[in-house]
Amino acid sequence: MSDPASSTHTPGRIEAALRAKRATGQKCLVPYITGGLGDDWLASLSAVIDGGADACEIGIPFSDPVMDGPVIQQANDIALGAGVTPQTIASDLRGFESPIPLATMTYYNIAYRMGHERFANMLNDAGISGSILPDIQMDESTDWIETANANGIENVLFAAPTSPDDRLARTGQMARGFVYAVGLLGITGERDALAASAIEIARRAKEHTDLPVLVGVGIGSPEQAVEACSVADGVIIGSTVVRRLVEGNHSVAERADSVRELISEYRTALDDAFPAA
């Protein structure tokens, strides 16, 4: 086991918020929404905040989202079709005073094409303090991590059910913000039951890091979130949120209400199961 203290760094905004939550005995809730999904997408972000999220992932849509299932693929396509770019998302966020920290979740070519330095600047400018790039593993991330660290962007890394212990240890040391424990072998999307691998990978990841460990991919209900949090410090929910944004023909207000309600359900379930000490 690595010595968690060996990854000494000053916690960024995301890590600080999640650690503070953990310190109370409560669990962290981090929803994902696709940036630019509808002209009113900031209303979705506000709904996520009002529902009680601790941080929020903002997806920058990409043409080839290989880690995403049908719901988020559809959201990507809708946003791209409407002309959404990394710059329009950043520009929409400028002036949005988010009370919770934000991380972008996108694919590496977006950052590579823009250039690491410009990408980091754009995130900072938009008030986004973290990055999550699921299609590149840590060995190909070192250049970006260096730039991210230098610019105060917390780059989240992944712990997968297939990761051996030595990689989990390096993940724990190189990650910032939190460690994203991949709940199952597969792509994003809700499943009927929580995979046994979710709890197992959360447990293994926590052996190797003192950073908050959040389980994502495959969480489909508040009950599953509670189950995952028997070990994990929190959960990430994506498809279940985005489904409410892409399905049906609802008004802006109705969609926002629906998202707020969903986040509150998760919040309540987690807080009931893990109340503040």
């Binding site: 080839d64 880690m67 590579y112 792509i187």
Partner: protein, 385 residues
């Protein structure tokens, strides 16, 4: 040294690498080690050689093309990968990967396919070795390559349409990767070209090296020298990599031919998709552009990283031909040599016809990587004979 082992970083110059989700890293490492071990194992090489001889029908011939040569003023010889079992070069790679997958204890092969040639080859190898097989194919390609869809099903494979994006090869790769992420413990991703994360570009090129090795010996025997020019079509670039590898250390000029609607080397800039850093057709924001080619097998916005490297160091050059030129060229070889080429190969033919003045008097080796039977239905809708 070019076209050798790229080492653990999987880099060809600046290109290549292993840009995959963390979930897939252990599988890529396992594959890298298993391939290195198998490739050094005489028993594995012997078994692959035996299959190539007794099943694929290797060595396939080198064919002189006297009437074509006379018409265009240079000497064309063709390496006949179209005569392999299943009708293209794809079987070379697939038999290697299927043997390797079996050796690794995998029970299921996952593949993407464009024109269906790689899908058919994978389904064939799966049947031969008693493995399950799942092939992802763009919905558009399933329509234009109906025959190959039927062949795959007949061979016992499940063919799943890729319904996202351009519904062609790029999207089939996305779906195959999504499958692999979920099934990595018992499945091997049998990637069909010299692309993807390390070790695929290296390993697939090695499995196709036999094309260049045979062609070099045959050319020496027949013509007493190496060719002046070696040419092949390039989508992902596996058949070109195979034949180039036999001549990269000679004075032969290496020319890869891309479709004008999917010219990653010609029109792309470096980018990262499908596990590799390589030339990629993309917009100013990094969104991958959809390729548009008459040939389903070349309808891909990226290219194998080793081709990006060969282009950047000037060892190979990459030219483009239009669909219209390809349709013309497709008809020339049947008329002059009695050989119907795959639409993919018609790209190399189209370039040679256009470049005949530059090629005048030269000995030109082309890789005829596949036969055109699969394209007949599509061409019946285009040509009036």
């Amino acid at each position: 040294m070019t076209m050798t082992d790229p080492g653990p970083s999987g880099r060809f110059g600046e290109f290549g690498g292993r840009f995959v989700p963390e979930t897939l890293v252990p599988a890529c490492l396992e594959l890298e080690h298993a391939f290195a071990e198998a490739w050094a194992d005489p028993a594995f090489r012997g078994e692959l050689d035996r299959l190539q001889r007794e099943y694929t029908g290797r060595p396939n011939p080198l064919t002189d093309c006297p009437r074509f040569s006379e018409e265009f003023g240079f000497t064309l010889v063709m390496k006949r990968e179209d005569l392999n079992h299943t009708g293209s070069h794809k079987i070379n790679n697939v038999l290697g990967q299927a043997l390797l997958a079996k050796r690794m204890g995998k029970t299921r092969l996952v593949a993407e396919t464009g024109a269906g040639q790689h899908g058919v080859a994978t389904a064939t190898a799966a049947a031969l070795m008693g493995m399950e097989c799942m092939v992802y194919m763009g919905e558009v390609d399933m329509d234009r390559q109906e025959l190959n869809v039927f062949r795959m099903k007949l061979l016992g494979a499940e063919v799943v349409p890729a319904l996202s994006g351009s519904r062609t090869l790029k999207d089939a790769v996305n779906e195959a990767m999504r499958d692999w992420v979920a099934t990595v413990e018992d499945s091997h991703y049998c990637l069909g070209s010299v692309m993807g994360p390390h070790p695929y570009p290296f390993m697939v090129r090695e499995f196709h090296r036999v094309i260049g090795t045979e062609a070099r010996e045959q050319c020496l025997e027949r013509h007493g020298r190496n060719p002046d020019v070696v040419t092949a079509c390039v989508g992902g670039g596996s058949n070109a990599a195979g034949i180039f590898s036999g001549f990269v250390d000679t004075d032969a000029e290496l020319v890869g031919i891309e479709p004008a609607g999917g010219a990653a080397v010609g029109d792309g800039i470096p980018g990262v998709v499908h596990g590799m850093l390589s030339y990629l057709k993309q917009d100013e924001f990094g969104q991958v552009l959809e390729a548009e080619s008459i040939s389903a097998g070349l309808d891909y916005p990226g290219v194998g990283p080793e081709h990006s490297h060969l282009a950047s160091i000037g060892r190979a050059r990459y030219e483009q031909v239009t669909d219209a030129e390809v349709i013309e060229a497709f008809q020339v070889l049947p008329r002059t040599e009695g050989i119907i080429p795959a639409l993919e190969c018609a790209h190399a033919l189209a370039w040679m016809i256009r470049a005949k003045d530059e090629l005048a008097g030269k000995l030109v080796l082309m890789n005829l990587s596949g036969r055109g039977d699969k394209d007949v239905t599509q061409m019946m809708g285009i040509l009036e004979l």
